[in-house]
Amino acid sequence: MSSSQSREPITIEDGFKLIDAAVTKLTRIIEGKPEPPFLPEEYIGNYTIVYNMCIQKPPHDSSGPLYEKYGAILQAYDKLTILPSIMEKHDEYMLREVSRWWEINKIMVRWLSHFFYYLDRYYIARNGIPSLTVVGMTCFRDHVYEKVHFNVKQVVIALIHKEREGQQIDRALLKNVLDLFVQNGMGNMERYEKDFEDFFLTETNSYYSRKASSWIQEDSCPEYMIKAEESLKKEKERVSHYLHSDTEPKLVANVQTNLLVLVAKQLLEKENSGCSALLRDDKTDDLSRMYRLYHAIPQGLEPVAVAFRLHVTAEGNSLIKQAEDAATSGIVEEQVLVRKIIDLHDKYMAYVTDCFQNHTLFHKSLKEAFEIFCNKKVAGSSSAEMLATFCDNVFKKAANDKSNDDSTIESTIDNVVKLLDYISDKDLFAEFYRKKLARRLLFGKFSDDHERSILTKLKGQFGGQFTSKMEGMVTDMQLGKDQQTGFEEYLKNANTGKPKGVDFTVTVLTTGFWPSYKTSDLNLPLEMVNCIESFKAYYEIKTKHRRLMWIYSLGNCNLTARFDAKPIELIVSTYQAAVLCAFNHTERLTYQELIDQLNLSHEDLVRVLHSLSCAKYKFLKKEPASKTISKTDSFEFNSKFTDKMRRIKVPLPPVDDRKKVVEDVDKDRRYAIDASLVRIMKSRKVLPHQQLVSECVEQLSRMFKPDIKMIKKRIEDLITRDYLERDTENPNTFKYVA
């Protein structure tokens, strides 16, 4: 660069003239008018003018004025050229103008910055003032953007509306225009947000609010959901095409609120097509869509889960009602009911795992629904009892019909365990189950595998304490078999032979495991007495310190009755056998004689005699031949009896023990409550009433739902028994008495 000393200083006036000329050329070029491009010398020349003017010695150093000039050029351009052009146009044409001038401006600023570059290097840096680029941008913002953004926004939103209504629009144009908003924020998103986004979201809000109102009236729930899903998809696409990504979450939330949240109740409860109907009609696609849509909204799934719960509860309740109605008209359908409930559970669990993606909220809803109707009574039987009876039937059938394959039994067992989880009176179930298990083990065929399988599953779910007694019972049966073998060995070796030729099998039950049975002082026929004695002898050898209690009410007997026509084998209970054997020595016996001889209770004897003389098979003749047994009757062996069968099983109708089971369970509950209360108080020492009650309920909830009144009464009882006392200052608080 030649030294400045050889030149005349360039005056501002002259310098500016040169610059203006350059600017004019520049604008013609960038506006696309016919103009030869800058030659390299011209380009350098422009730069040099500025440079020289800056380095001139004062008073000709013109950095300041040049800086001003730069700003002025752009300002003039913005105000006089750009803005008017834009203002002339409307609608989409205006947008195009804006977009076009925005690009031109960028180029203008870039070129001018090159010309005035020297300012950037020294003058601007030294003085800490805005750079040339910033000045350029600010100028555009202040003189163009600020004036037009409102209208631009209006047009943009109108176009978006058009697109929403299905028409095609110029997306690239919108993208450019919106980018302009972002750029004019000059570092932050404020301009974009305040000048465009806010308005856009408001407009979106009213748009979708209107749509929601009309769709909810016209469309079914599935149709509506499809439209909602589609709308969300379209809006997301909109973001990717021309909106700034920041807008996406706000936009999605907006649409979701209008289309899904505000109308949730109406939508889900739509008659014939709402959640309930979809569940009923197996519309898995629609339900999955529902889940998808609402899952994306925070806490959005809650109304769906509620609708689900209400539906399942209603279904369950109607099953219960059906069973109740059937029961009142005489048909007992308990077992059908259990099967139906199991099926219901499978059906709705499938929804939970498939459509509702195993979400905990729906598991919870299902559980709550089942807990409501599974604890209702039907025709006087509790669900606990029904379930126990159901199991009993399943196992009895399975044992008799070996063709049933194991997998169905296993899946039924799984279902039972699942259902039991919903029943609050689990201890009641356990007791009924135990009683029926005893019958199965002692009186029928049973499958050791099946019995053990369910017990293992119950143990896994409810703990060892729940199943320990029942396991003991099954084990007893196993041990009993071994013991019987031992007994037979003993008989052979001891050379006593079978007592009076009678085959005799004994099952030894461990008292604690089995339900309690009454003993009776039945006077056995002699043949049986011998059997008893020989077993006693054997048992004494095998074990010391154990007492045998004979339960004749549970035994059974095979007798051969020699009727005139032909002998028939009778399979009867021990009591019945004893009565029949009494006729071995006499033809005729009165009721009173039988009582004296056998030492049975009246209740038992009446039952037995009825089964032998008034029921289907009349092995005894009764005088008088009425339908009921009275104490003045007399009986005679009916030698004329015959039947085509050679073997007859005579069942002794079981005594209904439902009441007893409930009483026993109630008693156990009282002990359990006492124990729990004492345990809690022992560890806490002092506790207010409400806390004590709630902790007690919590502790016992695994087995049953304790009645609050009962807990209160047990507390009072414990006070009387000096385990607890009331605090003298505050009678609502209890203290443990050591």
Binding site: Q690, K712, K713, I715, E716, I719, T720, R726, P731
Partner: protein
């Protein structure tokens, strides 16, 4: 005297208005002669007047005589208060020791003085702290067997009337009605008994608006509350 439990034969009540025979006159001359001697002697002599000669204790008959002397009904609460003062252990009987304790505490040695001391005694017993103790004592006193923990509802009704009747007439009347009608409770424990007193003291009546079923009131009071609510509806 509070009536005894059913196992003991009931004594007929003495007519509160009757003036009794000279044997148990208001101011027995015997004691006034002894006034000059030691107080203890006076007390003892007084004791002997009412005591059963063979058993050496004042028995139910003697107590009846005492009541007449004091011109106090047989079932009056003041006799119970006296028993409390004496720390009498066995219902219907006062031992010599108990008699001495009681009369000494009251600072009396004649029937006249004793009679005059009764209002003072009543005032003392009705003080809140004393009353609490007295109230519990009333229950305790009626227990006759060794390990007995409950009193039958009939006894309770009479006790309630005697002990709380004057202060809480309405509550007591309703409670008694309820106890007679209900079938769930045949006997009452000490805790329940205490509950009655607390109820009368704390719960506004008859609206019972501040009664709370969630609190630790004995169940019998919960049942009473519900019964009364139903009646009022």
């Amino acid at each position: 005297m509070p009536p005894r439990s059913a196992s003991k034969p009931s004594k007929k009540r003495s007519n509160p208005d009757s003036v009794t025979s000279s044997a148990t006159g208001p101011v027995p001359s015997a004691s006034s002669k002894k006034k000059a001697s030691k107080e203890v002697d006076g007390t003892d002599k007084l004791f002997d007047k009412y005591a059963n000669a063979s058993s050496g204790v004042i028995d139910p008959e003697g107590i009846e005589k005492l009541c007449s002397s004091l011109e106090v009904p047989h079932t009056d609460i003041r006799i119970l208060m006296l028993a409390w003062r004496m720390k009498a252990e066995r219902q219907g009987y006062f031992t010599k020791g108990e008699w001495r304790i009681g009369l000494k505490a009251l600072k009396v040695d004649t029937i006249g003085k004793l009679k005059k001391a009764l209002p003072e005694l009543e005032k003392e017993v009705r003080e809140p702290l004393n009353f609490r103790d007295f109230y519990a004592y009333a229950f305790q006193y009626c227990l006759t067997e060794d390990k007995q923990k409950f009193l039958d509802t009939e006894t309770i009704c009479q006790l309630l009337d005697m002990v709380l009747g004057s202060t809480f007439r309405a509550q007591v009347d309703y409670l008694i009605d309820y106890l007679k009608i209900q079938k769930d409770y045949k006997v009452i424990s000490m805790d329940q008994w205490r509950g009655f007193c607390r109820f009368c003291n704390e719960i506004s009546f008859p609206d019972m608006t501040n009664y709370n079923l969630e609190l630790a009131w004995p169940s019998i009071l919960d049942d009473f509350f519900e019964w009364l609510r139903e009646k009022q509806a």
